[in-house]
């Protein structure tokens, strides 16, 4: 027995990084299982490809980072490999699994031609984990959310080849695309394209019975995961509240214009439509709450959520791309360090920060009013 000298404090909260990552995996379970049940083998293929690519990349990264320090002698590859493996920790396995599952869930099930799906998944997950995370130094150092980065890359490269399948569970209420992407085809007017949103049942949207990517349609499963994350405190509620709250308020303001200008759409239909379509809930639950890519203090996190909400709304209402969530998250990831700058960072909601938050909201409201206010009424 000997006495070990260590610095205070000598006790520790029962918590660990691995536990936090496992919490996210547990929260992802309902969505993944629903996706597996609905889409069958195709879902399993997509999930396993992206998880495998991400895990392998991270493993290679660990090998590269844990080389034997230079000592004059030459080491065999086997020695290098074994030495590298010693640096492999449980979070090196869990973090890419989380990213891989999220990435697979926001990718479409099939493509046309069919072999493109392999290319999209492999290149997308490779880009996501390498450019989005590993080049910055791995877990904890990344600027971008790996899943969002990979998804945006794949979308830019292969977006035109995506196919949104329908089967016995998923009804093809709209042909050829998702609910959101079909909007652009119906009318050239920004408000006019919402004329038919009343046709889609809110229950179908809630249950994921509309065409879409692998996992983000199943709102009930996502809500289960969200509740679990909040109960386990693995997600910061400040971001969630400011993002979802900000989004709902901004969409309600947009709704006032839509309801007055488009006949046959009522306010409730509009709100349900904007909250239940696309990857809003999925992105908020699993991608926006990634603590690594968000600011570190409470006011920063509230502003981060608001910024993401504003960008999502603007991309959805005016953007050329139907989906705004992944793009807005990626853009906000870039802005996160700005909220943390040491000259004004702090965990207190000072008057200046409240004024800044208010002016951020004002800018977004102004943008919506200007964008929709001059639109002519649809017939």
């Amino acid at each position: 027995m000997s006495f070990i000298k260590e610095t205070s404090p000598h006790i520790h909260r029962k918590d660990s990084l691995a536990r936090m990552l496992i919490d996210v995996l547990i929260a992802l379970a309902p969505v993944s299982i629903t996706a597996l049940v609905v889409y069958g083998l195709a879902a399993f293929r997509n999930l396993s490809i992206s998880v495998a690519v991400m895990m392998l990349s991270e493993f290679v990264f660990v090998l590269i980072m844990n080389r034997i320090p230079y000592d004059g002698t030459k080491h065999t590859l086997k020695e290098q490999f074994l030495h590298g493996c010693k640096g492999y920790r449980i979070h090196h396995a869990l973090a890419p699994i989380v990213s891989g599952v999220i990435f697979a869930l926001i990718m479409p099930v099939e493509t046309d031609p069919a072999y493109i799906v392999y290319l999209a998944l492999i290149l997308g997950s490779l880009f996501g984990i390498v450019i989005g995370k590993l080049v910055f130094g791995g877990t904890g150092q990344n600027i971008f959310n790996p899943a969002a980065a990979g998804m945006v890359f794949a979308k830019l490269c292969f977006g035109s080849k995506y196919v949104y399948v329908s089967n016995s569970y998923v009804n093809a209420v709209t042909t050829g695309g998702t609910v959101l992407s079909n909007l652009t085809n119906t009318s050239s007017s920004l408000v006019g394209r919402y004329a038919n949103i009343g046709d889609i049942s809110a229950l179908d949207m809630f249950l994921g019975r509309i065409p879409g990517v692998l996992g983000e349609g199943f709102k009930f499963a996502i809500l289960l995961g969200l509740v679990y994350l909040l109960l386990r405190r693995a997600a910061d509620w400040r971001v969630l509240v400011s993002y979802l709250g900000g989004y709902a308020v901004l969409m309600a303001i947009a709704g006032i214009f839509i309801v007055t200008k488009v006949t046959g759409v009522n306010f409730g239909q509009w709100m349900l439509f904007s909250l239940l379509t696309g990857g809003l809930l999925f992105g908020a639950t699993y991608m926006l709450t990634d603590p690594v890519t968000m600011p570190i203090n409470a006011p920063g996190r509230v502003m981060y959520g608001l910024l993401a909400a504003g960008l999502t709304v603007i991309i959805r209402l005016f953007g050329a791309l139907p989906e705004g969530v992944a793009f807005s998250i990626l853009l906000c990831n870039l802005a996160a360090p700005a909220f943390d700058h040491y000259t004004y960072s702090g965990n207190a909601f000072t008057k200046k920060k409240l004024i800044f938050i208010a002016s951020m909201c004002a800018v977004f409201v102004l943008a919506i009013c200007l964008g929709l206010g001059f639109q002519e009424a649809a017939l």
Binding site: K5, T7, H10, H12, R13, R19, M20, I296, N347
Partner: protein, 434 residues
């Protein structure tokens, strides 16, 4: 987990109700000739001299204040030995052999109540300075300094919170020395000419609160009241205590006395009673010996200067002798760990903790923000850590690490088991240099 720490599980357990054991006075005691605040000392006795219990035998010099040393046994001076001090350094100790007669220095006369009632604040300064009263809660700050000003004091706060987990010495003192503690508070009222005394006790110590409320009925009109405060850590930090009890926010860099508040630890109040009433310096104190490395955790009343191995023997020694241990003097959050159990009990040792050593590997920081949410001084530990890693002095200074009280919460909550507090300590060193 992304959450501030609400309360640390305090694991006080049954020790809270176990009566304090009295340790036999050892055959010899060891008195430190220097400590964390005083580097030099002047010793008035030499080898072979006979000393009385409570006799002045030397004086430590701490620059702007002096600290007398009193013998804690009667007997003969035997020379010097080197042992570990509470601060983690090896210092020279004066060894005094005990003749087991416990003869008090005949020059020390107890004061009558009338004499005490006539004392002024200046008299208190003199008495406490002569009796070497220091903060017994662990700060070892000379108590007389708190009296040595002419600020109008409106509130006296008694810190009986003991917010560090595991330690129960103060709670036992509160239970067992009820009358002395309250007498001590009355002396404080005389010293500051102030009626309002609040005893701050954690809300969850209901039996203690009820006991004091019941007992204080005998002192109706005395102005002493019990004030239940929060259960969180670090509630015992004076600024947090003042905020909870009175709602006054004392900004960092200011003294509570500027806001008309004087605060004392409950052990110090007991020491003030001894010093004022009996004119004695503190020769014994209460210590918790606990932790999962100790076979029979207990509270002790021990003489100052008792070697710790004697105490550990009384506790049945260590559990799991094959496992490495962490040996801590003080609480688990702020105490210092020593490389050996060869140390001596001084006035400011509140507890001895022995834990089985559990190695913890640091993971990468995932910026969860728990440290930022938990910091009681509203710092951003993660940002300071980054600045220290980058050796960015400008950034370190802008983040103001000198506000840090080293409560240890940032390391305690860290999801990745990073020793954040160590980085803040380094940042403080950076910030102090020009």
């Amino acid at each position: 987990m992304i959450a501030p720490v609400s309360s640390i599980h305090d694991t006080k357990g049954l020790l809270e109700t176990l009566p304090t054991l009295s340790l036999d006075v050892p055959d010899y005691v060891l008195l430190p000739t220097s400590n964390a605040r005083c580097a030099k000392a002047e010793i008035f006795v030499k080898e072979g001299d006979h000393v009385y219990l409570g006799q002045l035998i030397g004086q430590r010099d701490g620059g702007f204040f002096k600290q007398p040393i009193h013998s804690s046994v009667s007997g003969t001076v035997e020379g010097y030995e080197e042992h570990y001090h509470r601060s983690g350094k090896k210092v020279s100790f004066l060894r005094v052999k005990n003749d087991h007669k416990d003869e008090w220095d005949p020059s020390l006369k107890p004061r009558s109540d009338e004499e005490i009632a006539a004392l002024t604040r200046a008299d208190f300064v003199k008495i406490l300075e002569e009796n070497a009263m220091v903060g017994l809660g662990g700060s070892s700050f000379p108590t007389y300094v708190k009296f040595n000003n002419d600020k109008k004091i409106e509130w006296i706060l008694i810190n009986a919170i003991e917010c560090e987990p595991y330690i129960t010495a103060d709670i036992r003192l509160m239970n067992e020395e009820l009358e002395k503690v309250i007498e001590g508070m009355k002396y404080l009222q005389i010293a500051f000419d102030c009626k309002k005394v609040l005893i701050c006790i954690k809300k969850k110590h209901k039996s203690l609160i009820n006991m004091y409320r019941e007992f204080l009925r005998r002192y109706e009109g005395s102005g002493i009241e019990v004030c239940p405060v929060g259960n969180f850590y670090p509630q015992g930090w004076e600024i947090a205590m003042i905020k909870s009890a009175l709602g006054i926010d004392v900004p960092s860099g200011h003294l509570p006395s500027e806001y008309g508040i004087a605060n004392f630890n409950v052990s110090t109040v007991w020491g003030i009673y001894e010093a004022v009433k009996l004119n004695r310096s503190v020769v014994e104190r209460r210590i918790s010996v606990t932790g999962d490395g100790i076979r029979f955790p207990s509270n002790f009343r021990v003489r100052i200067g008792t070697p710790l191995p004697l105490l550990l023997e009384k506790c049945g020694g260590y559990t799991h002798p094959d496992k490495d241990k962490v040996f801590i003097l003080g609480g688990p959050m702020m105490g210092a760990s020593l490389p050996s159990d060869d140390c001596i009990i001084t006035k400011t040792v509140t507890s001895v903790l022995v834990f089985d050593y559990v190695p913890q590997e640091e993971g990468p920081c995932i910026r969860c923000g728990s440290c930022v949410y938990s910091c009681p001084t509203h710092l951003e530990p993660k940002q300071i850590m980054d600045a220290v890693k980058a050796f960015d002095k400008e950034r370190i200074k802008a983040l103001n690490p000198l506000r840090c009280i080293e409560c240890g919460l940032c390391s305690y909550v860290c999801t990745s088991h990073i020793r954040v507090t160590d980085y803040i300590r380094r940042a403080k060193m950076f910030a102090k240099t020009k």
